[in-house]
Structure formats: C-alpha cells, structure tokens
C-alpha cells in the first residue's frame, strides 16, 4: 500500500497531475465570544482560497474553540480520532496553540499556523510537521524596534499586558531598539482603563511610545491616549490597527505607525485579486488575519498539487518548498518552518469614510526569527 502510493506520487509528480487521496483539514478557530472577529477572518480567508481552487479532494471541517484551551484540545482529539484529519489549522491564540500543537504533531499530523507563533514552537520545541504561515510572535515587534531606530527615536516608553505574549512583545522590541527606555510597564490582561499609565507616559520624558495591546485593550488605550493630549509618536504592531478594529478606534488611530507583514496595497497580482474577491465575497475589506488564512490555504493546496498527503515526507517537502503565490509577494520558510519575510511599516490613513493602512517603509527585510538557532530538526 505504502509502496503503491509512493509510486503513484512519483508518477504524478512526473506528469504534474493531482494527487489522488483526499486531504481532510480540521480547522479549530474562535468563532464565538469576544475574540470571534479574528477567527471568522481566518476562516473566511481560508475558505475563499479553497473555493477559488475548486478542488473536490479537499475537505475542511470547522469547529469553534470558544477561545478556551481545554475545548481546543478536545476538538483536536475529536478531529484526529473521529474525523481522521490529515492537517490541522486555524488556531488564533498562542496559549491555545501551545495546548494543541505539540500533541498533534507528535501524532504525525501536520499543523499549519495561520496566526499564533509562540517562541517555544520556533526554537527548542520546533517540529518537522509544524509550519507557521503567519509570523513568529516576536517578528512584528522586532520590526517596530528597527523602525524606531530608522525614525531617529531615542527614548521609548514601552507597555504590554502582563502575560507571556506581552513579555515576548517587549523583548522583541528591545532586541532591535537601540535607544533608551524611559519606562517599561506591564498592564493587567483585559484592562480597559489606562489613565494611570498615560499619566506616567506624560511624566516620563520619552520621545515615543511602543505598545502591544491586542483587541479591545488597544481600542481603549488609543482613544484614551488621543483624549489625553500627550502627543508623543505611537508605534505598535498591526494587531491594534487591523481592518476589523480600526473603524472602532476612529480618528484616534490616524497617523499611527504600525508594523505588519501584509497590507492591502502590497503590489502584486495575487494580492490585488485577493482584496477584490474577498470584498466581493464577504462585503468587507480583508484584514491581516484574512490574508494569513488565505495564504495558509494556498500553501496547503500547493503541497497537494505536488505530493500525496499519505506520503508524509513528500508532503512535508512540498510544504517546505512553499511554492505558491502569496499575497505578501515572496514567501519562504526558514529551517524552523517559520517565515522569512519582509515586515513593513504602515501608517493609518482614511480612504473616504474608511480607516485603513498604507505602507510607508520596510522595517526589516528577509527577516527570520531569533529562535531558529535553537531548533534542532
């Protein structure tokens, strides 16, 4: 059986025909509750690519993890044990990824991460079946640090929530930023009032503020910062300036510089088509997360064209090659299966009535992550 499928795969590689076995994908993502916007974007981006590929040998099962790690683990068990999926994907949050990915890859499943990139999975805990299509968690923060140097900023006040991703964020910024730090703060996770922090920023004498406050925390911070009259330049990662939440921040976000590996104005045919078709299909502009979902599906489809999923080694090699048209332009994996990519600096602008971003510079070119050296694969 194994011999036959290998021979088949070889034959098909020669003729360029599609592999025969159906590929079953399990998508575990957040579709209900407060963080649902991100999961819905990843799902919609992913399913758009699936629809455009029009393959009948690709089967996607979607389940809602409610942003709870134990539910995510349970769903992963279900997909592996009952649905017998070949590939898992979809998880948004690092803590859920840490709960699911090690066990799934240990059981021989492929995992393609469309969003979370916790550092353990990029370094010592890397795995040959784990591919991160988005970024390692530190990447956007590192680019922000590099941008701050380029912009001539000398002294930053930095803040993030007091949990592992927040600490990674500030570590990433400090790894590249060469100036001084007038203040470093960790806020409570889920905090909604930042008056005390903003007062400290005002008194600190810094010339810039770097903040990582994803989701609603960022909306609150930006609105309160704008009302406070403190006018130091703000820098942040894309998560607080994404298409989904930017409309809720409004004018308070105008002009803020943020770092991202994608934007809708990246100039290539795939991206232009993606932005148009996404808008036509769902009636809204795509977000960062949607672009990551779209790329994840296209990576998977590119591997399906080249190899049979039953032949894990060939399929893995096909994933690693990453020969698909990414909305980011060039896309390549490093040795630890994390992207090596350009990270851009964007500025929040207004197009008509809609707040969005435009690229103004490149923060880091061909950037890999700092943990790859620890990965023994």
């Amino acid at each position: 059986m194994k011999l036959r499928s290998a021979a088949l795969a070889a034959a098909m590689a020669l003729t360029g025909a599609t592999a025969q076995a159906d590929v079953k994908v399990g998508m575990i993502t957040t579709l209900s509750g407060g963080g649902a916007g991100l999961g819905i974007d990843v799902r919609d981006g992913f399913m758009l690519a699936v629809k455009q590929a029009g393959r009948d040998d690709l089967d996607v099962v979607i389940e809602d993890d409610q942003r709870k790690p134990d539910i995510a683990v349970q769903l992963a068990d279900k997909m592996i044990q009952s649905e017998k999926v070949d590939v898992l994907t979809g998880i948004i949050w690092s803590n859920l990824a840490m709960a699911v990915v090690p066990a799934a890859t240990a059981q021989g499943k492929f995992y393609l991460s469309p969003n979370a990139g916790p550092s353990p999975l990029a370094g010592k805990g890397c795995h040959e079946n784990y591919f991160n299509v988005a970024w390692q968690n530190d990447n956007l923060h590192e680019a922000a640090g590099a941008y701050a140097n380029d912009a001539g900023l000398k002294d930053s006040f930095i803040l993030a929530p007091n949990y592992p991703a927040g600490k990674d964020a500030l570590t990433g910024y400090k790894r590249f930023f060469e100036g001084d730090l007038s203040g470093e703060l960790y806020t409570k996770l889920g905090q909604t009032d930042y008056a005390a922090e903003i007062a400290q920023i005002r008194a600190s004498g810094a010339d810039s503020v770097y903040f990582f406050l994803p989701g609603g925390m960022g909306i609150s911070f930006l609105k309160q910062y704008a009302a406070s009259g403190v006018d130091l330049p703000l820098v942040g990662p894309a998560f607080s300036f994404d298409q989904g939440i930017l409309q809720a921040v409004g004018d308070a976000a105008m002009g803020v510089k943020n770092t991202s590996q994608w934007n809708k104005d990246i100039d290539n045919a795939t991206n232009a088509a993606f932005v148009d078709t996404f808008q036509a299909e769902y009636g809204r502009l795509p977000s960062l997360y949607a672009s990551q979902g779209f790329d994840t599906a296209n990576l998977l489809i590119s591997a399906m064209v080249k190899a049979d999923v039953a032949d894990a080694d060939a399929f893995r090699a096909a994933l690693k090659a990453a020969e698909f048209d990414s909305v980011r332009g060039d896309f390549a994996f490093g040795d630890n299966h994390h992207p090596v990519q350009d990270i851009y600096v964007r500025e929040v602008i207004k197009e008509g009535d809609v707040y969005t971003n435009k690229i103004i510079a490149t923060g880091l070119s061909n950037h890999a992550d700092a943990y790859a050296v620890d990965c023994k694969m």
């Binding site: 809602d64 709960a99 592992p164």
Partner: protein, 327 residues
C-alpha cells in the same frame, strides 16, 4: 426502590455504557467526551458537599480545580525535563506517577482550602459567594502573571502520566480510571452524608441556631466540609489536566467556577448524583449545540434558563417528582 435510586443507577449505566459502545463503534472521541463528563462530575461531587450539604455557595472552586491541575503540570513537567523542583533544603523531584500526583493535588488543594475556608467562613450568604470569588481571582491573576510555569500559555505535558498496571494512553483505560475514582467519591460522599458529621453539617445549613444550642460549632463543621470539598475538586483538576495533557489559568477562571456550579444545579442541588447527571447533560449540550449554529450560546442560555425556571430541583428533581432533595 425509590425512583431517584433508579435514575441514579441509570445515569451511571449510561456513563459507563457509552464508552463501551464507543469502543465497538470505533468512535474514540466519544470516550474522551465521557471521560470529560466523569471528571467534571467528580469536580461537582466535590463542590456539592460544600454547596449542597453545607449550603456554602463557593464561586471559587476553580481555584482548587486549577491547583490540582497545576500539581499535575508542575510535577510532570519537572519529571519530563529531569530537573528537580527544589534541591535545598531537601531534594524534591518531579514525577509521572498518577497516584503520587493525585496525593499532591489533594493535599495542596486541601491546604489552600483550609486557608481560604478559615477566612471566608467568617462571612455567609452572598458575602461568602463573593469572598470565595475574590480568592479565586487572586490565584487566577497570580497564575497568569507568574512566568515560571508558562503564565497564560500554560504547561503542556507530552505523554499522559502513568498508573501502575494500566496503559493510560488507551482512552478506555483512562476513562475506567476516572470512572472508578468517581464511583469511589460517590461512595465516600454517601457515607459522609449519612455519618454524624454529615447530618450535623446538613443541620447547620437548615438551622444554625439549633446546631449551636446543642453545643456543636457550625464553623468547624463547615471548615472540614470545605476542605474535603476542595481536595476532591483538586483531584478532579489533576485528572482533567491529565486528560488534556495540558494545564492553563483558564482552569482557574471564575467561568470555570460557574460551570462547576452549573453541573450541580442542572442535576439537582444536594443530590448525590446531581453533579453526575448535570455534567453529562452539559457535555452533551456543548457537543451537540456547537454544531448547530455559530450562535449556539443563545440556545445553551435558553435551555439553562428553562431548567432553572421550570425544573425546580434540577433534572433529577423533575424526573423523580420531588422538588426537595432528601435531607
């Protein structure tokens, strides 16, 4: 035989029968679900001693559930990396042995329950609900911001811990273990309920003044009940962490405390098997409703509301035709 006894027997039979059927139908995930139900039931059985028999509505039992989980996570992660937990003043090594982990989980939860109980039992009623919530939140925020054991990311264990003579990686064997512990806990609770201590505890809930007047101290009765309750819920936490091979601060969140209470209310407060039936129904709802619609929480909410409003005494109460639990 009373109708409630039949219902209880049927519940156990279903909980045991479903995984056996699942093995034959080759549906290993159903076994996982049944294991989850058994473990949640155990957590509820623990809380039910305080809440049902003792009348102590604790909205902080997730603390013990999570502490049990972290006992497993910390011990197993140290065993996994061959790094002792502490070397001075004496050596403590990690372990992958379930019985040891369970013991540690129960003792730690019991000690924490003793401290929380000593302070919280000075209050009563709504204040007790809220002070237990406060202690739960303290431990939750501590776990999120304490970096040594993963913070919000939690701790992953790659291989399930071992039990002498069993292969715990086989879903049915691990289920059997959890089911056996649940049964043991039910037997223990039944014995406590019928003991002099259980009767006095019940009496303290119904009429504190009378209990005082016969010379017993309700505070001490309740403290003992709270500690036992915490220890049993802690054991459930250790099993839950082993089921998922993962522990994180969500096990300590107030929503978790709320869920454990929900199991009890769905089944029937103060009934021996209330948490068992409640947990089974909750898992069933969560599993089936989730597939129906993206907005399935609406249906879950409506169902819960229906149970509270129209099935007084929980599902057992409705089925057994008796609103009040047998005291």
């Amino acid at each position: 035989m009373k109708r409630e006894t039949w219902i209880n027997g049927a519940a156990l039979a279903v909980l045991l029968g479903v995984p056996l059927w699942a093995v034959m139908a080759d549906e290993p995930f159903i076994i996982t679900l049944a294991t989850r139900a058994a473990i949640f039931a155990l957590a509820g059985v623990g809380l039910n001693l305080a809440l049902g028999t003792g009348g102590l509505v604790s909205l902080g039992h997730a603390a013990f559930f999570g502490i049990g989980g972290y006992a497993m996570g910390i011990l197993a992660s140290h065993a996994q990396s061959y790094a002792p937990i502490m070397e001075a003043p004496f050596l403590i090594e990690g372990t992958k042995s379930m019985p040891v982990i369970w013991l540690v989980a129960m003792v730690t939860s019991a000690l924490v329950a003793l401290v929380i109980g000593m302070l919280s039992l000075r209050t009563s009623g709504v204040y007790f609900i809220m002070i237990t919530l406060a202690f739960g939140q303290m431990i939750y925020y501590f776990a999120i911001s304490w970096p040594a054991y993963g913070g919000e990311d939690g701790l992953s264990i790659y291989v399930r811990n071992g039990f002498p003579g069993l292969n715990t990686l086989v879903p049915l064997q691990f289920f059997g273990l959890c089911f056996a512990i649940l049964c043991l806990a039910l037997v223990l609770m039944n014995a406590i309920h019928k003991s002099a201590f259980g009767l006095a505890l019940s009496a303290a809930r119904q009429n504190e003044t009378r209990v005082l007047s016969v010379g017993m101290k309700p505070y001490h009765l309740r403290l003992v009940a709270f500690v036992i309750s915490g220890a049993v819920t802690g054991l459930a936490g250790a099993l839950f962490a082993d089921l998922n091979r993962f522990v994180s601060p969500t096990m300590l969140s107030w929503q978790m405390s709320g869920e454990i209470i929900i199991f009890i209310i769905i089944g029937g407060v103060g009934r021996l098997f209330g948490p068992v039936i409640g947990a089974m129904i909750f898992i069933l709802l969560e599993h089936t409703l989730g597939g129906l619609s993206e907005f399935w929480h609406v249906y879950l909410g409506a169902l819960l509301l229906g149970i509270v409003l129209f099935a007084k005494g929980g599902v057992i109460g409705a089925l057994a035709g008796r609103e009040k639990a047998h005291d």
